[in-house]
Symmetry: C2
Subunit: 353 residues, 2 copies
């Protein structure tokens, strides 16, 4: 849809919202959400369901340097927890009536032979970003392609909305490096506790990011920064976002790591921006910086810092509610309810009586 | 459940939450929500569904004085819109899989003869609070009883969670008077635009509240203030809250008017407090004062100011998600995921290698 057609769609949706049986603007963020989903799906009758959480798991070379409170093997263990339905995001998805798809894009283990895990491993984790580019050119391209295909598959299965989620011990370190490099800020502003590192371990995490940034020449494109500093799961999430405009699919963004992926996708292709709904405000400190850079206002603020798409999936029902409202809520005319203009006159009559 | 039993329940739920496959505290507000629902329902296996929105409609004598942007007859029109399924709260309830029950507790019209409206009219609106007590003693008692019975009926029909919502042209004026009287603050701090009054009309609304407050002797009980300044629909919502502890039912509070009712209920019976979940932060200015007085942190902040239970029903899916998480999420042990303690040791080994 070109800009002219989009502007016309926006005007029609706004007119519809203005005629709903409520004081103008009384639904604040829900009106805005309905509009955002309508523009992303390019329709006056948007839908919040079917919705699918796309979760990408991968390991990070830097996780061998003690940057996380959890051991590296948790990535593989959690991938199994996702397909077993026991992870937080799975319980939220069941509550929301949403689907979950799990991709091994780079877990450091033998290939999974488990129903429910998409076995598309590109490598057994990235190289350690302190000393080398995270991915080869070919690895980065493959991870992007996996994400793009994941979105296409979800859309072909009926999804109108997807969430992007991740699992990767060490990936807040990678995300912090991506943030610092993109915004040209110092490592210590971009690094936070992640799963819960403090004190010396936190200082070590800052040094890891500093080392990674020191390898850069400066002037790298977002795509090249992604290859240098990213993770396979982060590149896959970028891929999901890049495929969204063509398929008019909404991408609900999760927390810090997912948001970095979304921001990189927008920097690579600005058309991605209108496909994005920002699910929640994470308590990981760097997230606020990402949101500011993306001019994003998330739907929820529940002090979550779990990742795996959990906060995005928690926001799914708000999309469904907003879309149901836009499609089904009565107008002043259809419901025979007096609008404010009537109010001014009749109210005056009443007072005069 | 006595205090000792509740403390033990809290400890058991916290232990369960701490063993879930996530970094401690990573689910922030969702952990807290699961705990709150568990304590309200007095069970380790709480449920967010079935859920019912209880909506009470009534008119206000003061609405004849031009305090609202909408005419008085909108109350009756909107009651019909609720049972017709066209109001915002109805679309949100459908999206959330929740029920809606509509009560005419005091609309200024002939008795409704419409399937779906509980025809329990106490009076055709309140007296004008500027010049007289809003309700007689008998009217206030009847409205409270209607609310209590509405909760009992909802629970008997299966509800584990209810929302309280209202419709009543002029009821932000009544709620502002209740707020100013309870907190001993000036009328102009408690009054806001409501459905959208500004300028002279807003000044008139402040004067209406000042007139109402001037009638008081001082030292009235919350119950007497409710009778003097409240609305029939507000008293009914107080009744819902008062019945909640005995029936271990969660009450999700909506915006300004609903929150005033909840706060009065807590002041009348402190046991109500643990039954309440605060659904959203309204953009009506007085709401922030009510929330502060209630020590409440709402789940959502979406700049809503519609009432009718809309913000509370939007929060229903969060309760369902939190309860599903508590009941169904895997523990480190059940999922075979390494916990942080393992991490410290193995991580150290790894670094030492």
């Amino acid at each position: 849809m070109n800009d002219q057609a989009l502007a016309e769609l926006r005007a029609r949706v706004q007119q519809e919202l203005d005629q709903k049986t409520k004081p103008a603007g009384a639904l604040g963020g829900i009106d805005a959400l309905a509009m955002a989903v309508a523009l992303a799906q390019e329709t006056e009758r948007p839908h919040g369901l079917p919705a699918t959480a796309l979760i990408f798991a991968a390991d990070h070379g830097v996780s061998r340097d003690g940057v996380s409170a959890y051991p590296r093997e948790v990535t593989a263990q959690m991938a199994l927890n996702f397909v077993g339905g026991g992870a937080a995001v799975c319980t939220f998805a069941r509550a929301a009536g949403a689907d979950v798809q799990v991709y091994d894009v780079g877990v450091d283990c033998e290939a999974f032979n488990v129903e429910g895990i998409h076995a598309v491993k590109v490598a057994r984790g990235t190289a350690n970003i302190r000393t080398a580019p995270a991915m080869t050119e070919s690895e980065c391209a493959s991870a992007l392609e996996i994400g793009q295909q994941a979105l296409v598959d979800a859309v072909n299965a009926g999804a109108r909305v997807v969430a992007i989620g991740e699992m990767g011990i060490g990936n807040t370190t990678s995300a912090s490096a991506l943030l610092a490099a993109l915004l040209s800020i110092p490592a210590n502003e971009a690094v936070g506790p992640g799963t819960g590192v403090h004190g010396d371990a936190l200082a070590g995490k800052v040094r890891a990011v500093e080392d990674a940034l020191a390898r850069l020449e400066g002037g790298e494109s977002p795509r090249e920064l992604l290859r240098q500093l990213g993770g396979l799961e982060i590149a896959a999430m970028v891929g999901v976002c890049l495929a969204a405009p063509e398929h008019r699919c909404v991408v609900v963004v999760d927390g810090f790591i997912s948001s970095i992926a979304a921001l990189y996708a927008v920097r690579i292709d600005p058309r991605v921006e209108k496909q994005l709904i920002w699910g929640h405000h994470s308590s990981e400190p760097g997230h606020a910086l990402v949101l500011k850079a993306a001019h994003a206002t998330p739907l929820l603020n529940l002090q979550l810092r779990l990742g795996e798409g959990s906060g995005a999936v928690l926001a799914f029902p708000l999309l469904n509610a907003a879309c149901t409202m836009l499609r089904e809520m009565a107008t002043f005319g259809s419901a025979g309810v007096s609008d404010r203009e009537a109010a001014s006159t009749e109210g005056a009559d009443e007072v005069a009586r």
